[in-house]
């Protein structure tokens, strides 16, 4: 078996049937990380106990214990998710020394199913960014072209997965942070319905938008990982009680009679030619497979990016208040405490601990929530958000899933947009609405630019209708013109 490109279930089956040990699998990927990651900067830290952890999976198998759906499968985890005894930094200086005393629910559930955690993956600081250039640990490079960004904020997860440094990764998505880098790196990335996956132990960026999800190499791997990490968690009040279906078992590529919605407001142009071509090919393909294309209207999507930035920054300004140097994380040095006021302590610690983009957003959010502006910004944004959600719900009465591009163009060059935050923010135009409405959405690779860069297509479904979303993605994947392409770095 070629471990490098094996699917999650192939690895798990091989480990359980003792064709290969979990330790051998871990060692194989550890070697790949050692040789390839210096070119990518996808990993921020390695799990020093990965081999021992894998070994304990092996000994459990030897004892005949049930080791779960992902036995011995090596995973990389985004820095945003707390891992017990393993540094969790959110890509920030302010948490650069933080070692959580607990596992996030997502990581606990992966471990319960036998996953070997290989290490932590780089990201934009506090998941704020669309290019992975804001990390305290430096930019991540796109494995298809190391002069280009892998996308953000889960850029480390996307790059590690695309280069097969691990078999699976977990990212988080607040405004497109799983789907956009998945598209840029040619992998499958899923943002589940809000509430499907517990947020407990995921460092909060914008609580009402954040959701963790798989970033993997196939739709089936995505479905399987989703099964493992989804489900109600008593530690998260906003997590759903809905039962978790066996998505991977029910996966089907049959799209006959499935109504594919196209948002007419998205068809106004502004897409680069390759992206536009990929999108229209995906529509034609689905049509030829028996699906029906329906035009729907979500006029409020026009405001999605501004509403997103109002809500996300407001929540972030509050969520990031706890990083004050008092109890954990980075604390500024004071040559003498004499004359140092409390305010100075906070200002210096936060001033030194946070990067530019994070500070920009904290200030924006603080402004939006301040008295006198709250109604004009936060309240109004909330109202438009509700209208947007209603429009989506109305659209899903006419169609089963919505198809759209993921981004306006393939991966851009490192440094290209760094000085133009607004242009960078507009990169999220197709992805943010999904988070605002709490819908599930995913990116599946379906094309390539003339320069050979991957281009994905976004499938969005109604709340908790992940099965239909995954099925349409599986149909596209089965006939994808870019199937089997591998990035240059491998």
């Amino acid at each position: 078996m070629d471990l490098t490109f094996a699917s999650l279930s192939e690895i798990s089956e091989a480990v359980k049937s003792k064709k290969v040990s979990a330790k051998e699998v871990a060692a194989h990927f550890q070697k790949r990380i050692e040789s390839l990651d210096p070119k990518l900067n996808a990993f921020t830290s390695h799990n020093p106990n990965a081999l021992e952890d894998a070994e304990s999976t092996d000994s459990r198998i030897a004892k005949g214990e049930d080791v779960g759906l992902l036995a011995g499968v090596p995973f990389g985890i985004k820095e945003m998710l707390c891992t017990k005894d393993l540094k969790t930094t959110a890509g920030s200086k302010i948490l650069s020394n933080f070692v959580p005393p607990y596992d996030s629910t997502v990581v606990a559930r992966l471990k319960k199913q036998g996953v070997t955690v290989m290490g932590k993956l780089n990201q934009d600081e506090f998941a704020m960014g669309s290019s992975n250039e804001t990390s305290f640990f430096g930019a991540v490079k796109n494995p298809w072209d190391v002069n280009r960004v892998p996308g953000g904020s889960s850029g480390g997860s996307a790059a590690a997965q695309a280069a097969r440094l691990v078999a699976g990764t977990i990212g988080t998505d607040t405004g497109g942070s799983i789907r956009q880098p998945a598209s840029f790196c040619g992998i499958v990335g899923v943002k589940p319905t809000y509430g499907r996956v517990s947020r407990y132990g995921i460092i909060a960026f914008a609580s009402s938008l954040d959701q963790a999800g798989p970033m993997v190499s196939s739709v089936k791997d995505a479905a399987l990982t989703m099964e493992v990490i989804s489900g109600h968690d008593p530690m998260d009040s906003t997590s759903s009680q809905k039962l978790v279906p066996a998505w991977s078992q029910k996966l089907s590529t049959d799209v006959k009679g499935v109504k594919i919605g196209v948002i007419k407001e998205y068809m106004k142009g502004g897409l680069d030619a390759d992206t536009e071509k990929t999108f229209s090919e995906s529509l034609n393909t689905l049509k030829s497979m028996g699906a029906e294309i329906v035009e729907v209207s979500v006029s409020m999507s026009e405001f999605a990016v501004p509403i997103y930035y109002l809500i996300a920054t407001s929540e972030a300004s509050s969520n990031l208040a706890r990083y004050d140097g008092v109890r954990y994380g980075y604390r500024a040095e004071f040559s003498s405490l004499a004359g140092v006021e409390l305010e100075d302590f906070y200002a210096k610690t936060r001033g030194e601990g946070f990067g530019q983009e994070v500070k920009r957003r904290i200030m924006l959010g603080t402004y939006c929530l301040s008295s006198g502006y709250y109604d004009a910004y936060y309240t109004k944004a909330g109202q438009v958000r509700r209208m947007l959600t209603e429009q989506y719900l109305a659209a899903f009465k006419k169609c089963d899933v919505i198809l759209s591009p993921v981004t306006t163009s393939p991966a851009f060059k490192i440094g290209e947009l760094v000085s133009d935050p607004l242009a960078m923010y507009m990169n999220d135009i197709f992805t943010t609405s999904t988070n605002l409405a709490g819908l599930p959405g995913m990116s599946v690779p379906f094309g390539a630019s003339h320069a050979g860069l991957p281009i994905g297509v976004q499938v969005t479904a109604n709340h908790f209708d992940e099965q239909r979303m995954l099925n349409v993605a599986a149909a596209l994947e089965s006939v994808s013109p870019v199937k089997g392409r591998k990035p240059h770095v491998i």
């Binding site: 998710l81 607990y102 300004s317 509050s318």
Partner: protein, 477 residues
């Protein structure tokens, strides 16, 4: 009450610490005697990634208190974040209710110097407490045991008009939350914390004056004194032609004065917004009804009933209802004795005296209501005299034995047999012939008491005093 032509306007905010076993938003314990930072989990410490989960019991305590204060209970209330930086506030915000509190529009009536006073409760909202900073030299040590303990903040309208009313209002709230068993009402330990908003205006004026907040006063006597001081201070200031500055002041009980803590000018912008980690709190009619059924009879209603149905004087009724445990004790005693007034008297005098001396709560009393009731019934039945009862009571207190056992063991049964008493009387009269002479001739006055005493002594105190009196009067005619 007159204040040099001014009228004080007072509003009170009381933070009621709810006596739940776990914190408002996580499972950490809440015991007061825990070692420093013992009751702290990643959630209490505001660790990255942690999330709040609402404590159902705290909600129930909040609703019960709201119902007892005549509030409307919101079917949908919202937790908000109150953002500000402080080292003992781990998340950088406090979760509190802001625009949509769980209880609103209540009303409470109580007596101040015998007169009914009604105060509006504008709202009562749930929130979490902050931790505690202990300053030691150049360092500050932080204890987060208290961080996350549930509080219900009860807020009045600007309805109080005197320091006495304010203090009595505070006592009433304390009494109610103790009746409901939602708070131990211990001001010294901070279970109840009082903030007083005080302003003054010319008598008859419509508009309110500038208010000053006196924070964290830790006894109702101090509430009264602090407000009294503050009223005089504000009037002095106005009379001097000065202006009242809106500020927060603290009470110094040693110097008997308030002093400025911080001015409201640098007031924080708390940037309230609904906490996205918590869904709106939905309360069903059924749940509210169930909690209403669980409400005990409240002190004011109970005192009224004791006065009207038990024919106790108002003052007795009030004393007996200050604590639920005392009222319960009284009611059980009265039921056993069938004598309301005597039950009230024995509890308020003998029992209270013993309890106070022993520094003991009434529910720990070695004398149980049934025993005290039985003893009172024995007096009423003439089995023992009131005098004997005192020694029976003492013996009950010391040994916890049943009153009839004590009476039997000590042979304390009262002699009610007329012929037996007549015999003793005759003996006494024979032995004191001179005295009988003196009495009959009127030579000496007040000898009757001497004969009664002698008879009682001869009977070892067991003769029924009523009968002794009656027989003596006959024989000495």
């Amino acid at each position: 009450m007159s204040y040099r032509g001014y009228e004080p306007v007072i509003g009170i905010e009381i933070h009621v610490q709810l006596q739940t076993h776990s914190k408002m938003f996580c499972a950490d314990a809440t015991n007061f005697d825990a070692a420093d930072n013992e009751n702290v989990s990643p959630v209490s410490a505001g660790m990255p990634g942690t999330l709040p989960v609402v404590n159902k019991r705290a909600i129930e305590f909040g609703i019960k208190t709201g119902l007892a204060l005549g509030c409307d209970i919101r079917r949908k209330s919202v937790f908000a974040r109150k953002n500000y930086f402080y080292p003992d506030m781990p998340k950088g915000y406090q979760i509190s209710q802001y625009e949509q509190p769980i209880c609103e529009n209540g009303k409470i009536t109580f007596k101040v110097n015998g007169v009914d006073k009604t105060v509006n409760i504008s709202r009562a909202h749930l929130e979490e407490d902050a931790g505690k900073s202990n300053h030691s030299g150049a360092h500050t040590l932080i204890n987060l045991n208290r961080a996350g303990i549930p509080l219900l903040e009860v807020v009045t309208g600007p309805d109080l008009r005197s320091p006495a009313e304010a203090a009595e209002y505070g006592r009433t709230i304390r009494q109610i939350v103790r009746y409901l068993d939602v708070c131990d009402g211990n001001l010294e330990e901070g279970s109840l914390r009082c903030d007083c908003n005080v302003s003054v205006r010319k008598t008859g004026a419509e508009q309110f004056g500038t208010k000053v907040e006196i924070k964290n006063v830790n006894s109702f006597r101090f509430v009264e004194k602090a407000i009294e001081y503050e009223i005089e201070r504000q009037i002095d200031e106005l009379e001097r032609g000065g202006k009242i500055i809106q500020e927060t002041r603290l009470w110094d009980p040693d110097k008997n004065r308030t002093f400025s803590m911080r001015s409201k000018e640098d007031a924080q912008d708390y940037r309230y917004f609904p906490d996205p980690d918590l869904l709106p709190l939905i309360v069903t009619d059924q749940w509210i009804e169930q909690l209403r059924q669980e409400l005990p009879e409240l002190p004011i209603a109970r005192a009224k009933r004791f006065h009207e149905e038990h024919s106790l004087p108002e003052s007795d009724a009030q004393v007996l209802t200050i604590e639920k445990s005392v009222a319960d004790f009284y009611e059980a005693t009265a039921q056993a004795s069938k004598n309301h007034k005597a039950s009230a008297n024995w509890i308020m005098s003998e029992l209270m005296r013993e309890l106070n001396t022993a520094n003991m709560d009434i529910d720990k009393s070695p004398i149980k209501p049934a025993q005290l009731g039985k003893m009172i019934a024995m007096i009423d039945a003439g089995t023992i005299s009131g005098k004997m009862a005192k020694s029976v009571f003492q013996e009950m207190w010391d040994s916890g034995k049943e009153p009839d056992t004590i009476v039997k063991e000590k042979g304390l049964v009262q002699i009610t047999d007329t012929s037996a008493i007549e015999k003793i009387v005759d003996e006494v009269l024979v032995n004191n012939a001179q005295a009988v002479e003196d009495h009959k001739s009127g030579k000496k006055k007040n000898l009757f008491g001497f004969f009664v005493g002698a008879v009682m002594k001869a009977s070892k105190g067991q003769a029924s005093p009523d009968l002794v009196n009656k027989i003596l009067q006959e024989k000495l005619k």
